[in-house]
């Protein structure tokens, strides 16, 4: 690294190009966040991070150029009051919230749901709530991306209600919803340190004995607000993302039994009745009856592909609040409510 005169030679240390830029990106993100989300002014940001105000101003401009700063548009509340009312009545929901998607395509629907959910949380979250989340969901991710830290809310706890699914790569760690949400609500996160599905029932039992796992599972019944995505059964996608813990055969067997979707890897049919399958006893996470006992259980979901899964979730009354987009809402208005209430038949396991 040093040349004959003891001066530093340029490029003496070989480090991958991308990683060299990360410290810069990191600082941009911190600065942008304090300014845009926490509402600090430039001088305050400078004091907080030990920078000069000139540097802060420069970094803010850079953040915009790098696309770290995004401007999103919220749906004015009540835009779809009629649709919301119809769905609430039809499916017996406490609340339905319909966001405004510009088009009926995945990207726009996610945006609409995310921003509607962000507004919902910001305006209704109370101090001391225990928020349970399903471990991975694009809708939940969209929500945290739209969210600003609600003012005057403290001491919330974010609990992961399903073990990890997929490869725990660094990137997934980074995006861990629990962490992001915990920061937003000025609270702490409790991770479920286990995979979402394990290889066998006996492995699941062993894990259930683990003190850390037990501690987090014990928190499930304290959850006051559950935020879950709804999954449709797509064997190819699930197999790919789960690191082969699911086999295609198992998923196809579930499909043959009529499964249309899942919440936290608990599968149900189009009427919302739970479907038993190969995963029974192997899932480490909240079950559907426990989810139903949560005071506010909220499904964030929308889109054509997921419609049967959404319908099943509502018919089964596994959640009492729905956040969706207007296209999905219109489909729900046209659909039949449950014929047989699957809910009652499975409600009392004891």
């Amino acid at each position: 690294m040093l040349n004959a005169e003891g001066r530093l030679e340029k490029g003496g240390y070989h480090f991958p190009e991308v990683l060299n830029k990360l410290p810069d990106l990191r600082l941009l993100t911190r600065v942008a966040r304090l300014y845009h989300e926490e509402g600090l002014n430039q001088t305050e940001v400078a004091d907080r991070l030990g920078l000069t105000q000139v540097a802060v101003s420069r970094l803010l401009k850079k953040a915009e150029k790098h696309g770290i700063v995004r401007t999103t548009v919220l749906t004015p509340p009540g835009t779809f009051a009629d649709l919301e009312g119809l769905i609430e009545e039809k499916f017996g929901l406490t609340q339905a919230i319909v966001g405004d998607a510009m088009r009926d395509s995945e990207e726009f629907v996610l945006n609409a749901i995310g921003s509607a959910a962000a507004q919902f949380i910001e305006s209704t979250l109370k101090t001391g709530e225990v928020i349970g989340i399903s471990s991975w969901s694009e809708s939940l991710l969209s929500m945290v991306e739209h969210m600003h830290p609600p003012r005057k809310v403290e001491n919330c706890l974010v609990v992961q209600m399903l073990g990890g699914v997929g490869n725990p790569s660094a990137e997934q760690h980074a995006n861990r919803l629990a962490t992001r949400l915990a920061r937003l609500v000025h609270g702490n996160a409790r991770f479920l340190p286990a995979p979402g599905v394990v290889g066998s029932g006996s492995a699941a039992k062993v894990l259930a004995q683990d003190p850390y796992v037990r501690e987090v599972v014990a928190l499930f019944e304290k959850v006051t607000l559950a935020l879950v995505g709804v999954g449709s059964i797509e064997p190819s996608a699930l197999v790919a993302s789960s690191g082969n813990i699911f086999s295609r055969e198992e998923l196809e067997a579930l499909q043959r039994k009529g499964a249309v979707g899942d919440i936290c890897l608990r599968f149900y049919d189009v009427n919302g009745c739970e479907v038993n399958g190969a995963f029974d006893g192997r899932v480490i996470g909240i079950d559907l009856p426990s989810l139903r006992r949560v005071p506010r259980s909220v499904a964030l979901c929308g889109g054509k592909k997921k419609f049967p899964a959404i319908l099943g979730a509502l018919r089964g009354k596994w959640v009492n609040t729905l956040i969706t987009d207007q296209y999905t809402a219109q489909r729900l208005v046209k659909a039949e409510p449950a014929k047989t209430t699957a809910a009652e038949s499975t409600l009392n396991p004891s």
């Binding site: 003496g12 993100t29 548009v73 915990a182």
Partner: protein, 318 residues
């Protein structure tokens, strides 16, 4: 009803502008209104709070985790570097680069930088640091002796003089061992004019950069011969030592353990002195160091932590 329709139109215009990134003129043309109207709508959208600015953290940054740890341990800053994998080498490289960047961006003119000398993370830091031109009249002060173990001595000297070069400042070395045999030996050492000069600067340090050591000797230390006697190590373990900063040991809640090692044997900055330094940066990573880092955080011996995402995750779980 009319109000609702207008609210919706405003939201629609805002969405076309911000989310689809169309120009005001394009939107005006497609909705068949004037550009002035579009401009007015956009202003109204902002005023009604239906437009909001959010930040999406780029991959490889861990700002959420940083803020969580800051709050959890009452730190003024946490910097989490992206380590490509969980190996010690990869973490050290990443953490060193992040610490270097942090120092480059936060250094003020006339800073007096205290440097702990026995740390691989700090070595990684200076190896990756760029020269800082905008500051002047900085001093770099070695706060723990490094003589006696050839490999450490060389590193300490390199660390301090290289950092001084990078910040265009003066290097103040502490030409003494980190551990001396006895109180008497320490007194003799302290008479040395170079040593005295450096030690007189301890009280003026504005930024301290330190490694955090576990109780298990690091490969670097083990390679250079044990520094503490077996009895001392045993006694430290019995008293619950989990880590050390500049060879001053502390337990899991961060309280200093004073009587296991004769305190006067350690030649360097005292732990409680850290509390009066405005910025104390701890640079550390790795599973081996988890307890040591936790102790340092609980004892509030540092107020800035530089680490990697794997270590950070394990800290947030506690």
């Amino acid at each position: 009803m009319r109000n609702g329709a207008q609210a919706r139109l405003i939201a629609e215009v805002a969405r076309m502008y911000y989310e689809e990134q169309r120009t005001q003129l394009e939107i005006a043309t497609s909705l068949n209104v004037s550009q002035g109207t579009i401009c007015r709508f956009l202003k109204r959208a902002e005023k009604r709070g239906i437009v909001r600015t959010t930040i999406s953290p780029p991959a490889g940054t861990f700002v959420d985790l940083e803020e969580l740890l800051e709050r959890k341990f009452g730190l003024s800053q946490v910097i989490i570097a992206h380590a490509p994998n969980g190996s010690e080498e990869s973490m050290q490289g990443a953490v060193g680069a992040a610490a270097a960047h942090f120092l480059e961006t936060s250094l003020k003119p006339r800073a007096v930088i205290g440097v702990g000398s026995w740390s691989a993370s700090l070595l990684s830091m200076v190896e990756q640091m760029h020269p800082v031109w905008k500051v002047s009249k900085c001093k770099v002060v070695q706060i723990l002796g490094g003589e006696g173990y050839p490999s450490i001595e060389k590193h300490a000297c390199y660390l301090v003089s290289q950092l001084a070069r990078l910040v265009q400042g003066d290097a103040h070395l502490l030409p003494a061992p980190g551990l001396v045999a006895s109180q008497e030996a320490a007194d003799v050492m302290a008479q040395d004019p170079h040593v005295r000069e450096t030690m007189e600067l301890f009280g003026r340090i504005t930024v301290a950069v330190l490694g955090i050591g576990s109780i298990e000797p690091s490969p670097r230390l083990a390679g250079s011969g044990s520094t503490l006697s077996i009895e001392e190590l045993q006694s430290l373990k019995e008293k619950g030592a989990v880590g050390n900063i500049c060879l001053r040991f502390y337990n899991a809640s961060g309280e200093e353990i004073r009587d296991a090692v004769d305190g006067n044997r350690v030649f360097g900055l005292k732990l409680e002195r850290l509390k009066s330094i405005p910025m104390v940066i701890g640079v550390a990573c790795g599973k081996r160091k988890r307890q040591a880092i936790l102790g340092a955080l609980r004892g509030r011996w540092i107020n800035v932590l530089v680490t990697d995402q794997f270590t950070a995750e394990s800290l947030v779980m506690t």
